[in-house]
């Protein structure tokens, strides 16, 4: 009748142990505090039960006690804060060489685009032991990408990219849930993360048909006419896009912004919001003319024009290189 009766979620990512450690510490600490207070109340209630002949003893207060039980909890809380903050920092800082997978959430399904070209719906295949960065956006309302076994969750917003990352540590199949209420079939917007041993993952990858994502992006770049203005020299009516990803861009109005995922996305959909210094606001508006998947492909292509190229899930973890490293890595696109 009942399938299983788990009381603890599986641990399948490098972060899971960290999160569980803090959780267990808090369980112990708060459990102890709870029990201490309950016992005190029960003891006082019993010991000082109203009896004839004994009056209550009036005690105004005690500044020493008040300061103690203000200061000690505060210190403990600050300790918990730091611990939680360290975990959060790790959770929100994808390693530099993470493999990237693009996610498009929509009512009520998850669509994934691997850089190698595979597309999946509601199922996500990843290899064990590889850092994977999810670059996510929504086609409609706010959703949330939640894999309990990995202890990660990140809201997926319309109109911009949000990012989360994980490193799976155990092969297996794990629940994927949408965790931000998104309408009728919110509880049906679920799927599975299939973590495979590297060999099986390679096999799964090679079974796929499509061209790498950046290649698709390159085709779009040409067919949509982007290459007309965004030439690879300085003669174009638009900025040269080689090497811009991740670097500062100076704008017409004097501001400087980093050319990150959201910047590139915005520049395609609403180019006049941020004009690069020295260029005119003549780029056509592509909002409504490209789908989220196409945007992802274009983004992957533009990122591939910067060095070093972003890793894919199929390549193995290489020794760390600096972001602007000169080392040539295996070019997949």
């Amino acid at each position: 009748m009942f399938e299983t009766f788990p009381l603890w979620p599986q641990r399948a990512s490098s972060m899971a142990g960290n999160v569980d450690a803090l959780f267990i510490f808090l369980l112990a600490l708060c459990g102890f505090m709870c029990i201490a207070i309950f016992i005190m109340i029960l003891v006082f209630a019993a010991r000082y039960r109203r009896t004839k002949g004994r009056e209550a003893e009036q005690i105004e207060g005690s500044n020493a006690l008040e300061l103690t039980w203000t200061g000690v909890p505060l210190l403990i809380f600050l300790g918990i804060f730091v611990w939680g903050a360290v975990i959060y920092f790790m959770e929100r800082t994808p390693p530099d060489d993470s493999a990237e997978i693009y996610t498009v959430a929509k009512q009520w399904m998850w669509k994934f685009q691997h850089l190698e070209g595979q597309r999946e719906i509601n199922e996500l295949h990843v290899p064990v032991g590889r850092d994977v960065k999810m670059i996510m956006t929504s086609q409609d309302v706010i959703h949330s990408f939640y894999v309990p076994a990995f202890r990660i969750k990140q809201d997926v917003l319309p109109g911009r990219y949000t990012v989360t990352w994980f490193r799976a540590t155990k092969a297996g199949t794990y629940h994927l849930f949408c965790a931000e209420y998104c309408g009728t079939a919110h509880s049906g917007m679920i799927g599975e993360v299939v973590v495979m041993e590297p060999a099986q993952y390679e096999q799964w990858l090679s079974g796929g048909p499509a061209a790498p994502l950046a290649e698709t992006g390159k085709q779009l770049f040409m067919s949509l006419g982007c290459s007309t203005c965004h030439r690879f020299d300085t003669q174009g009516r638009g900025p040269n896009l080689v090497g811009i990803y991740g670097k500062p861009a100076e704008l017409e109005d004097g501001r400087t912004v980093i050319a990150d995922d959201n910047y590139i996305r915005e520049s395609i959909l609403n180019p006049h919001a941020k004009i690069v210094a020295g260029f005119k606001p003549i780029m056509p508006v592509f909002q409504g003319l490209v789908s989220e998947e196409q945007l992802n492909a274009l983004l992957a292509y533009i990122k591939s024009l910067s060095q070093p190229p972003q890793g894919t899930a199929g390549t193995r973890n290489t020794p760390s290189t600096s972001p602007s490293g000169q080392q040539q890595m295996i070019q997949v696109q």
């Binding site: 109005d253 609403n270 006049h272 919001a273």
Partner: protein, 226 residues
């Protein structure tokens, strides 16, 4: 604070004293404090819109400039002068009540109302102008120029902020009308004028909101007049 018993002979106190108060002093203090607290809630109410304005202006400044250029500078300036004058007449009306000048009080209140109506009339003219220029957000919105999406957002804020302000002005005009009516019937004098005072506070508050709205909406682009 008085500790007199509840039952007071009726010819011993001001007819305007409400019986749960000990004396007129307490009633006046309570009434004034109540109005100030209410105005604080109004600040928080408008504050939400001001926050939205600040955030989006920071993000989309060029669109804000473009939107502001489509405001009618002259109507906005005239309206600002009108409101400031109305605050003057309102303040003078409060003073008239304080010194017991009934006719002056009513006249000043009526002038205040008229100035308020002038403001609302000018706003109606402006709104009509924006409407026919397709500057009302929604399916009918149309803007020639870069980044129409965020110019539309500017106009959304324009209509919402000035719209709520105009609603408060309208309520204010009605309130002043009531006070003028009661004032004509001699209800206010040196020993009881705090409804006039409180109405004055409300009126000044609505005026101050406009004084913030005016530069934020009308005066952005004039920095860019070459």
């Amino acid at each position: 604070m008085s500790n007199s018993p509840i039952v007071v002979a009726h010819d011993e106190h001001n007819p305007a004293l409400r019986h749960h108060f000990a004396d007129m002093e307490q009633q006046r203090e309570a009434s004034e404090m109540g109005m100030w607290v209410f105005l604080i809630t109004e600040i928080m109410f408008f504050g939400g819109m001001f926050l939205a304005y600040i955030v989006y202006r920071y993000l989309y400044y060029p669109a804000w400039v473009a939107g502001s250029e489509h405001m009618d500078f002259w109507w906005g300036t005239i309206n600002t002068v009108v409101l400031i004058c109305s605050s003057l007449t309102m303040a003078l009306a409060v003073r008239s009540a304080q010194v017991g000048q009934r006719k002056m009080l009513v006249m000043l209140l009526i002038v205040t109302m008229l100035l308020g109506c002038v403001f609302l009339g000018i706003k109606a003219v402006e709104y009509h102008g924006h409407w026919v220029e397709h500057q009302f957000p929604g399916p009918s919105f149309h803007f020639e120029g870069p980044d129409p999406q965020h110019v539309e957002l500017f106009f959304s804020l324009y209509w919402a902020m000035t719209g709520f302000h105009a609603l408060h002005m309208l309520i204010g005009v009605v309130l002043v009308g009531f006070i003028a009516f009661f004032g004509w019937h001699g209800k206010y004098g040196p020993d009881y004028y705090n409804p006039v005072e409180n109405t004055g506070l409300y009126w000044h508050f609505v005026d101050i909101v406009w004084i913030y709205l005016y530069p934020l909406l009308y005066l952005i682009s004039h920095r860019h007049l070459h």
